[in-house]
């Protein structure tokens, strides 16, 4: 466990007033406390645990000892704490993904950011199935053709022949374009014009 490093005042990035004070999401609530003539203003997003704390008293204070210990966990490289990860703060460095691995998977699962068919139980399971750095994955119009063919089937089913004719023209146009591109050996140069 490491202490969260104190930031140098001069190096602090200016605050962004339209964001939640805790997790930097868009604000939904402006909470103003007036105590003995002093006014404290807090900006919070809708799902902020800080908001729950303010509105429902000490709702989050009933954590177990183990959890309290874990909450103090911090990344040695950048000082990001587990509490910050749980409240949706941005991660501070690549190392955070190793330190808070369990928590990250849990949070991603909880907010529906992982496909349901993905196995998240195994700690060593590779979750990423896309391309790796340096890998070139060229795509051609076939993906669009698949989508258009699906749409064509749908319009024929609903007997919308005017739409079907439009889709057929677009499919033909794309097929011709793809063929001519593959013949000329170029799959899309950066400066291509319409």
């Amino acid at each position: 466990m490491e202490e969260y490093p104190q930031e140098n005042e001069e190096e602090k990035i200016p605050e962004r007033p339209l964001e939640c004070n805790e997790c930097k999401k868009d604000i939904a609530v402006r909470y103003i406390e007036i105590e003995k003539g002093n006014m404290h203003k807090t900006s919070m997003c809708n799902d902020c645990p800080e908001l729950q704390k303010k509105l429902l008293g000490k709702a989050l204070s009933g954590t177990s000892d183990k959890e309290a210990l874990l909450t103090g966990l911090a990344c040695g490289d950048c000082g990001t704490t587990l509490e910050m990860v749980r409240t949706g703060h941005p991660l501070g460095c690549s190392h955070c993904y190793e330190i808070f691995s369990d928590s990250i998977v849990y949070e991603l699962y909880a907010v529906g950011k992982i496909p349901l068919n993905l196995n998240i139980e195994s700690k060593n399971e590779t979750l990423h199935i896309g391309r790796a750095p340096g890998e070139i994955v060229e795509m051609n119009s076939s993906l669009q053709l698949i989508a258009l063919n699906e749409a064509l089937k749908e319009t024929i089913k609903t007997e919308d022949y005017e739409q079907a004719a439009m889709l057929r023209d677009r499919i033909n146009e794309l097929t011709e374009k793809t063929l001519s591109e593959s013949e000329s050996g170029e799959s899309g140069e950066p400066d291509d014009k319409k």
Partner: protein, 356 residues
């Protein structure tokens, strides 16, 4: 703020790809890749000095790799608030670039299709806007740029989490695809909710133009990928294309129905929208965007003449604050802006006629 001291708009305004965009329903696609450099903490945990070092590193790599394209590099500290807002409007961003500060930077191409933001949440955010409905081609261009840069910058990557991003919700492919669809017929006949429920797909998210799922501006829905981890880039592109394709078909079918039944409710809304645009003394951007969408629908039905879809799409940008200000050489006071917008739209509508 005047046109003369606004470097971004001066660089881009004549190369507006939206001027030729005559799309009626599908407006554009935006493809983004988020990347971080391996040996540095993410921007939120870097000092301003180190952030400036990252800006130098990325800028140098990009300019060195690309000889064929002309890029414009602008540091956030050198830009005024309206220039930053202009970039946000142009690239249909929800990031709030107007708060960008020293240590952050933007790189744009001449056509106004490419944007790289540096140190805004991640070290590098590469974005391409496609207005020709060729997302695969733009994807290939984006990957080539990312790969060329990656040969000199080592990206933060793990086999378990893929490309590592400051926002954990974006790790994996760290790719975001957004398709902008203008669906006035579905929205004004109130069919949209049922259709979205019918076609619901957990891999897809729908928001409004400003990123809010419940606030629809200008009848535009943004279809974007919900997952970046556990899916391939091909999956993302194909799912979104298929989903957007279904919505487009439903929009066309509804338009056909409105036209054949001469729906008087829609006729009334189109007429009122036209009247607002030509008779208002002052108008806010959101009201103008909503009215422009209905006028565009009216043009599609032949109820309104004297303007085409491309001009209306262009007006969609030029009536927003930062773009609007570019049209004036003199300084415009904030309280006078709504009136100036009104005048500008009226001028663009001088040949437009309602024929219902």
């Amino acid at each position: 703020m005047t046109k003369n001291n606004r470097p971004v708009s001066s660089f881009l305004s004549e190369k507006n790809s939206w001027k030729e965009n005559d799309n009626t329903v599908w407006l554009s696609t935006s493809l983004s890749l988020f990347r971080n450099i391996n040996k540095f903490n993410f921007p939120g945990k870097l000092t301003t000095e180190k952030q400036k070092g990252v800006v130098g590193l990325i800028t140098e790599s990009l300019l060195k790799k690309s000889t064929s394209e002309k890029f414009f590099v602008c540091k956030a500290e050198d830009l005024g608030p309206y220039d930053k807002e202009y970039i946000g409007e142009r690239f249909l961003s929800t990031e709030g670039y107007n708060q960008a500060h020293a240590g952050e930077a933007f790189i744009l191409d001449e056509k106004g299709e490419f944007l790289a933001t540096i140190n805004v949440r991640d070290h590098l955010h590469l974005q391409l806007i496609d207005t020709r409905r060729e997302p695969e081609k733009q994807w290939n261009r984006l990957v080539r740029m990312e790969t060329a840069l990656g040969s000199s910058l080592s990206y933060a990557f793990s086999s378990r989490y893929g490309f590592l991003t400051a926002d954990r919700d974006l790790c994996g492919t760290a790719m975001q695809m957004r398709v902008f669809l203008q669906l006035p017929a579905l929205i004004h006949t109130e069919l949209i909710d049922d259709i979205l429920n019918e076609t619901a797909d957990e891999s897809i998210m729908i928001t409004g133009l400003h990123g809010n799922p419940t606030e629809v501006v200008g009848d535009i829905l943004v279809v974007k990928n919900n997952y970046t981890l556990g899916v391939t880039e091909e999956n993302i592109i194909s799912n979104i294309q298929s989903f957007a394709g279904k919505l487009i078909l439903k929009e066309y079918a509804t338009r056909k129905e409105i036209k054949s039944t001469q729906n008087s409710e829609i006729k009334d809304r189109v007429s009122r929208a036209y009247a607002i645009l030509i008779h208002s003394y002052q108008i806010e951007a959101v009201e103008a965007l909503n009215a422009l969408s209905l006028v565009k629908l009216g043009v599609d039905f032949g109820w309104i003449t004297g303007i085409n879809a491309a001009a209306l799409n262009n007006l969609f940008f030029t009536c927003r604050r930062a773009h609007l200000l570019c049209n004036f050489t003199e300084e415009i006071a904030q309280e006078n802006l709504a009136h100036k917008r009104s005048e500008f739209i009226r001028e663009s509508f001088k040949d437009v006629r309602l024929t219902i």
